[in-house]
Symmetry: none
Subunit: 193 residues, 4 copies
Amino acid sequence: MQTAPEPDKRTAILHATLDLIAERGFHGTTMALIVRHAGVSAGTIYHYFESKDAIIHDLYHSIKRQYGTALLGGDPFHLPAPDNLIRVWLNAFHYHISHPHESLFLEQYENSPYLASAPAVHTDEQFATLITLVAPLMQQGVLADMPLDVHYVMTLGVAAALARRQIAGLIALDEPMQRRIAAVCYRAVAQPH
Amino acid sequence: MQTAPEPDKRTAILHATLDLIAERGFHGTTMALIVRHAGVSAGTIYHYFESKDAIIHDLYHSIKRQYGTALLGGDPFHLPAPDNLIRVWLNAFHYHISHPHESLFLEQYENSPYLASAPAVHTDEQFATLITLVAPLMQQGVLADMPLDVHYVMTLGVAAALARRQIAGLIALDEPMQRRIAAVCYRAVAQPH
Amino acid sequence: MQTAPEPDKRTAILHATLDLIAERGFHGTTMALIVRHAGVSAGTIYHYFESKDAIIHDLYHSIKRQYGTALLGGDPFHLPAPDNLIRVWLNAFHYHISHPHESLFLEQYENSPYLASAPAVHTDEQFATLITLVAPLMQQGVLADMPLDVHYVMTLGVAAALARRQIAGLIALDEPMQRRIAAVCYRAVAQPH
Amino acid sequence: MQTAPEPDKRTAILHATLDLIAERGFHGTTMALIVRHAGVSAGTIYHYFESKDAIIHDLYHSIKRQYGTALLGGDPFHLPAPDNLIRVWLNAFHYHISHPHESLFLEQYENSPYLASAPAVHTDEQFATLITLVAPLMQQGVLADMPLDVHYVMTLGVAAALARRQIAGLIALDEPMQRRIAAVCYRAVAQPH
DNA sequence: CATGAATGAGTGTTCATTCAT
DNA sequence: CATGAATGAACACTCATTCAT
């Protein structure tokens, strides 16, 4: 007899932690606060996670995976360049806009000296997939011959930075402006002919 | 009995705090550590500053001012566009590269929800001065008509992000590549004709 | 569906607890550890025992009984004095040497203020039986007229202390040396003539 | 201007810890309890000691030193054998009787698997001094040729064990009986002629 | 001005025990 | 009988801040 799916405590812990960190940062997010927001006891948290850090790492990897998937939404592989790159840019921007907590969390995690491990952007699977999109374009001379980091910073990095400014209410880029900036970013890293 | 004139304690505290935060982050930088590195007593710190946060805010503003000055080095006002913008970009990049601790500090401060105050980039004096450089160019149609934040992110934001990657050893952009990227950034925000 | 008859869970719990306490002490032996080593669930332990302390008390009494039996092995009652006393001394020494976990457990239990109850050595049955061996010898003037505790400490107490040192690898008394020390202990409590 | 010697907090912490451990054991002695009994704050304890373990180790070494000094009281070096050995035995017995908390503390410390370091009795200075008393006697054939641990257990070990029983109220050995047992212990480790 | 001993609320974490399944 | 997820009080320890000297 299948009862209603009981509220998953592990998920509740992750959700509570995400929300709290987005609003208060790693150190402002105490275990006591997670306990209160997740509606579980302190002991229960340690039943599911080894430590506070383990929650954060777990959260990071699941958000990173989700983000990677979102970047490839709308099937950019079937579009010709530069449409595929613009699609990825828009996907990135939209992901951040529609997942503000995840966006703030990622920003903090990747900037934090609190976390010894520097999780090189290059090594994760999402980036690996992106490279299968970008590498051929560089070989074909469509994209300029510059370090990958430069391409990254000037496209997805810009998308993320602008999205965060939009989340913070500093700007309000509408759809056409987003497309325009995406195109500009593409042109910036394209090979001049 | 006159001992050797002590180096300014206030400055010693700020220096120690800067170095510690660059290496350990805000929360890894305890008052006890500042005491040890600055060579002053705990009580003395509270003589010069109201709180730990006050040291950090003070540090932020003095670094921000120093950065603003560095951006305008080489007198960009006397150069024609786009040379003046490229000069500013290179100044920004060089500042970060040659002041890694200040760079890491700024990054942390501006990303940190730990600090309630969102110090709007727009309000500080350095940015105000930059606007006197950029505004006429927008009016003249040299720069594209986009929100100022977009211009900022796509130029100085990119310079900062790349410089930090270089500090971290992820990339090694030489002088010509720096100039090339600076030019690309300029073109990205320039008015297409 | 009848599975293979499980080995007695109660016994598994006691065994696991004994091994763990010998190696880690009372407080290093957590219920979670007992659960893991005994291969039973937490709930099951509380089915067989009222509390962690109850396991320990139970263990103590069963080991004490086993020790008492071991002391009387080789039928010292049928030997003349002082052979019977030497036999008991050797039995004690051998018990500790061949039951190092039980020996360490006893030592901890009897030294521990963690256990409120001071389990007077005098009240247990094993000691009662020994008295039937010792009392007549005192009356006959074979053993010196000293408090029973003195006899105990100078014979079995010494045997236990030396055995524990041997377990710890601090000494290595061979059979003849054991007999020699046993004889010396006997002579120490014997009536001088 | 010299004021009354302020109550030394470091000493207060050590005293409180000693009393608590004697009565409740290592684990029953929580930092909260030490705080309460010593009349200092939690932070203050960590100002003087690195950790709870550090307090305990410190206590152990200072008690061990005190005990060593007490053993040599009454100048046993100027007495002929066996009077010097009997003097040491009586010193040991009296130390334990008159320092019951110290005695209980030592017993627990030296039996505890809680403390990784097995501080071999042999290595400390007190024992070293004792050896200067015992070694010549063994060479002269006054003491039997047995491992040092055997001599130790059969003399000072017996004194300690009996003293603890007396502290616990199990026995009440008067001065003549103490002397008699001391003599018996000496004879037990003496070379038979 | 300067010191550093002292504070105590707050931190992340543990663990014997319970109870719905 | 058996399970193991859940509990929450207790634990050792930290650290920004104060204040008597």
